[in-house]
Symmetry: C2
């Protein structure tokens, strides 16, 4: 019997971060809001998936408007986001009652493939966690005391989402580790003492945070079709 599978889509906090690009989840990409593309990817993976969408409270009416306009009628549970990503995910996890697996995914990663989603659930079912990651394409340097030094990039991975976990594991980790500065779920699980299982993501699974990213996503999406 397969386990309950949830997708927790994190669609940004209050967008008040200084000097950081604002997430583009509500902008249109090929005529459809980014966040709906993101959710579509999970529905393409499975019509049985249970979806939780964490939104800033101010964006609830915009969400309503966009789902009507774009005929989006898959049932999702909405939750109000917190001040930080940590709090938003924690509040999203509060909406899950049962056991099973949850794929935590950035609302602004619309190009995730159903293969990657499938793999993340499969690996998390076996090992408790499955975090998408990719090797670095370019050289890396570490900053130290105003200087910098070469590091071996093959020893590093860039972390993406989905980050998929056993529900009890990740709920307990978010409850026990109350560090709102943590910006990804793997760090929270790691701090709670769990080993993180990385698996190979995809360079196409980009995070859309700038106007250029949106152009890039449009190109990649066109190529997929």
């Amino acid at each position: 019997l397969s386990q309950n599978e949830y997708a927790l889509i994190v669609a940004g906090g209050k967008g008040t971060r200084m000097n950081t690009p604002v997430p583009k989840q509500f902008l249109e990409l090929a005529g459809r809001p980014v966040i709906l593309h993101t959710i579509d990817a999970f529905i393409k993976y499975s019509k049985q998936i249970k979806i939780i969408v964490v939104l800033p409270e101010n964006d609830f009416s915009l969400w309503k408007e966009l789902t009507v306009k774009h005929h989006f009628d898959f049932p999702v549970v909405l939750q109000t986001g917190g001040e930080t990503r940590f709090e938003s995910v924690k509040r999203g996890l509060d909406k899950i009652d049962g056991d099973g697996l949850v794929a935590i995914h950035d609302g602004v990663r619309p190009l995730v493939s159903k293969q990657i989603i499938a793999q993340s659930f499969k690996i998390a079912a076996q090992h408790g966690s499955a975090v998408a990651s990719v090797p670095l394409k370019e050289s890396l340097r570490r900053l130290e005391d105003g200087q910098s030094e070469t590091v071996d990039r093959s020893k590093f991975r860039i972390v993406q989402t989905p980050q998929t976990f056993n529900i009890e594991l990740i709920k307990t980790a978010y409850r026990d580790i109350n560090d709102t500065s943590l910006t990804d779920d793997a760090s929270v699980a790691e701090k709670a003492g769990h080993t993180i299982n990385l698996f190979e993501g995809s360079y196409e699974n980009i995070k859309i945070t700038t106007a250029e990213d949106l152009l890039v996503a449009a190109s990649l999406l066109k190529q997929q079709l």
Copy 2:
């Protein structure tokens, strides 16, 4: 009096690397080969610049053909590449007789701006080196003993090109450090005992190694025009 300024454009080795994307320097981007866009960027910066292009020997006739076809008539010095990037750069540096500054730049980074080129020469004139780099947009993990751990991404920079140096400094470094496994010039200069000066590059200054990268570059180029 300003110093002699050189651009050393590294246009790939023999393209025999296993499992690595082949550089796309000769593919067309908006109707013009990638490598000509790259060289154009340096000419836009200065008509006085001296340009050295390192090419695989097999590609010399293709180069000739493309420069005729695209009416490219800026004088450049051609040099045959080696087995590795290290050897290609070293051979390129052999073509420089005088002193001054050299910007070593990937042939497949056509979107470098003249502002970044100008800054790299200015900083290298003051400090001996100037290496373009950008912060990481996503979380980073370090692999160790089959496990992985969170690292603080704000302590790292992704290295791009141009990597610009005092000519004597970098020529001496390439002569003294005979490590053909080194894949960027900053590592060579560092190994020779020099401090590396990083400066802020640009996310648009992408390296084109996959078909997707070429699409992305086309989008970005369209936006620049």
